[in-house]
């Protein structure tokens, strides 16, 4: 029984230039205490997907279809007020990519954490302040009782992110969504933050959804990985499995191009061509325009997710038994010794 079950989530943006199908039929699950990594290039719809979970999609965007079950409750049925009171902050919280801008520049770090505590719990202001200091200490901010009264700009980038995490922990949520939390940081600080996430997970048994375009990061923190491409999850597997035995041509290309774990995919542009527009996505398989293994059927059939291994699925017609297909020869794994896996 998973803590979070997302099924066929669709989030569209209704812009003057057309409907942007940012998230188009995404499903995944996160168990209690588990950490799921969602990876993909910019524009794949990762952030939109996780923001949809908390009902944070604003005009002109809307969750148009799908179900989000959290601890047995259907979140899409909840009203805005219910979401605000019962879910956001205290059940699910989120750590944003750019802590500098995610923190309000004109309030002290402490007052922002305090406000969240007061808003979501029964604690009063002074108690909330105590709690905030504790939290800041927990996330490794030295002299927390002093620095609580400083403003975000007085913190370094790493500390801002730590403060952000303290905020996320403020009400003991069961799920933390980390939306590219280390993207803006340099490597050394990034390592510290990732460690912190691990610590948290161990200490509080919190589930984490970790959104990133950095495969190296995924390796550090995630139990399982979902790969997204243009609004869809194309492959999903435990991270060991995925790294050793990627099935989807997209994942294969991604991994193929990674030189070091620190390289960022968006900078490398490992795959030829650019991602098509989400306004008018290609018919059939969305990846076909860039897929080296594409064949005729890809044009017509939107591939469902095929089970390709234990807890491993991939949305590619290559794995459809009913369709005649050429051999997936294009992919040469890093470690050829790994079994091609049983389908």
């Amino acid at each position: 029984m998973s803590l979070l079950e997302v099924a066929d989530l669709r989030t569209y943006f209704f812009t003057p230039d057309g409907i942007v199908q940012a998230v188009d039929g995404v499903s995944f699950e996160v168990g209690a205490g588990e950490s799921l990594g969602i990876v993909g290039e910019s524009g794949a719809g990762k952030s939109v997907a996780v923001k949809s979970l908390m009902g944070l999609i604003r005009d002109p965007g809307r969750v148009v279809d799908g179900s989000i079950r959290f601890d047995g409750r259907e979140l899409t049925d909840l009203s805005e007020a219910e979401l605000r009171r019962e879910i956001r902050g205290n059940e699910i919280s989120i750590v944003f990519q750019d802590a500098m801008s995610a923190l309000n520049p004109v309030f002290t770090v402490g007052s922002q954490i305090q406000e969240i505590i007061v808003e979501n719990t029964d604690l009063h202001k002074t108690d909330a302040r105590e709690r905030a200091i504790e939290l800041l200490e927990d996330v490794g901010i030295p002299d927390a009782d002093q620095r609580i009264d400083e403003y975000p700009h007085q913190y370094s980038g790493g500390m801002q992110q730590r403060a952000m995490i303290a905020m996320a922990l403020a009400c003991n949520p069961r799920l933390i969504i980390a939306d590219e939390p280390t993207t803006a940081l340099d490597v050394t600080i990034q390592a510290g933050i990732l460690e912190l996430f691990e610590e948290i997970q161990e200490k509080h048994d919190t589930s984490i959804v970790y959104v990133t375009h950095d495969l190296g990061v995924v390796r550090e923190v995630c139990d399982r990985v979902a790969v997204m491409y243009l609004g869809k999850v194309v492959e999903q597997a435990p991270y060991e499995e995925l790294f050793r035995n990627p099935k989807h041509p997209y994942t294969q290309s991604l991994l193929n191009s990674v030189v070091t774990p620190d390289e960022r995919l968006d900078e490398l542009n490992p795959i030829g061509g650019t991602m098509p527009s989400a306004v008018m996505p290609p018919s059939g398989c969305r990846f076909r325009t860039r897929c080296p293994a594409a064949f005729d059927d890809c044009l017509a059939v939107d591939p469902p997710r095929y089970q390709v291994g234990t807890d491993h699925d991939a949305a590619c017609l290559l794995y459809d038994d009913g369709i005649a297909r050429p051999e997936p020869t294009l992919h040469e794994t890093d470690d050829g010794g790994v079994n091609e896996s049983n389908i």
């Binding site: 003057p16 719809g45 030295p142 700009h153 913190y155 370094s156 980038g157 803006a184 050394t188």
Partner: protein, 354 residues
């Protein structure tokens, strides 16, 4: 007006952020009904103005006389005639047809607007860009001079100018042209400041292009968009300002039809002949409204973050801040030498935390 790619609505916005040039910008206007209305009003105005300019200079008012009436023809027996079929907007104190004068007035209004704004624009762009590009003493000198102009209330400065040079349409737009320079200079300056260290500028420098060429070929064209928005928005202000000067007795030379003058001449007749002042008033209002609506739309479109407002004032204080501000980095006591997003530019303070 930071050109940094903000990520307001996440990734999906990425494709809208791209700088698509003026044509693309204009195309986007179609999504803004108010801008379209503004554009329509201005287009109508321009057509009227072109027509009256051609008619006046080439045909000596023959066309309009043939079509309707001569805007200069006086007829004391037709003094303050009410609007009728013959005179759809009535006649004025001298029996002249208000309607045709109104049409001819578009020429004056537009001329004042365009020339005054043109002077401000060119002056502001040159001063602002030179100031920012060369920096140092040049910057200090130019910006202090601009501040001096800026510190004197616009209307006050315009009155002094008009008093010195005498009331005439030429002086009117020179006066407002000069009055407007500081605002443009500021906008341009902050744009150039943000552009001058860009890669392509560096490249041009390495290529050994003369500094003047780099400034006016590479930098200025890239930073001109907000100045254009500023121009559209201040067009209305100039037209109103010119009308105010007319009201105070520093106006356009008679018998040239001019809305401001018509309006202020007609004010004493309000009780007996409302039409003399009301129609030019409406025209001024519509014109200014048109420019403002268009300017509003342009601004929204050109700036993905919708950094707003009165470019007229721009970041005069904010620029100050930039130098005042202590950008000292707090020591990162966890991992030394960290680089985070810092608050170190005007763009930051303008709300662009990118």
């Amino acid at each position: 007006m930071s050109t940094g790619k903000g990520t307001p609505t996440a990734d999906v916005d990425a494709e809208f952020d791209e700088d698509g040039g003026l044509v693309r910008t204009l195309k986007k206007l179609r999504h803004s009904p108010t801008s379209l209305v503004g554009l329509f009003i201005i287009a109508a105005l321009v057509i009227m103005a072109i027509f009256s300019a051609i008619d006046n200079f080439i045909f000596d008012r023959a066309i309009i006389t043939w079509l309707h009436a001569d805007p200069h023809a006086m007829d004391q027996s037709m003094r303050y005639e009410e609007p009728s079929r013959e005179h759809p907007m009535g006649t004025d104190r001298y029996g002249r047809d208000v309607f045709t004068r109104l049409i001819y007035g578009s020429r004056t209004a537009l001329t004042i607007g365009i020339l005054a704004v043109g002077i401000s624009f060119v002056g502001g762009v040159i001063i602002g860009s030179v100031s920012a590009f060369f920096g140092g003493y040049v910057d200090d000198l130019l910006m202090r001079s601009v501040e001096i102009l800026y510190a004197i209330p616009g209307l006050v400065l315009a009155i002094i100018f008009m008093a010195i040079f005498g009331p005439s349409i030429y002086n009117l737009f020179i006066a407002y042209g000069i009055v407007g320079i500081p605002a443009y200079a500021r906008v341009m300056r902050s744009e150039v400041l943000s552009l001058r260290d860009r890669e392509y500028v560096e490249a041009a420098k390495l290529a050994g292009l003369p500094r003047r060429t780099i400034l006016f070929r590479e930098i200025v064209p890239n930073g001109i968009a907000p100045v254009i928005v500023q121009a559209t928005l201040s067009m209305g202000g100039v037209i109103i300002g010119a009308a105010a000067l007319s009201f105070l007795g520093f106006g356009v030379q008679p018998p040239t039809p001019d809305w401001g003058r018509m309006l202020s001449d007609g004010r004493t007749a309000m009780v007996v002949a409302w039409w003399v002042a009301v129609f030019p008033g409406i025209m001024i209002f519509l014109t200014v409204m048109g420019f403002n609506m268009l300017g509003d739309g342009l601004r929204d479109i050109m700036d993905p973050k919708m950094t707003v407002e009165p470019t007229t004032y721009d970041d005069w204080t904010l620029d100050e801040w930039q130098t005042e501000q202590q950008t000292e980095q707090p020591d990162d006591d966890i991992v030394p030498g960290s680089t985070g997003a810092r608050t170190d530019g005007a763009g930051e303070l303008r709300g662009g935390r990118s």
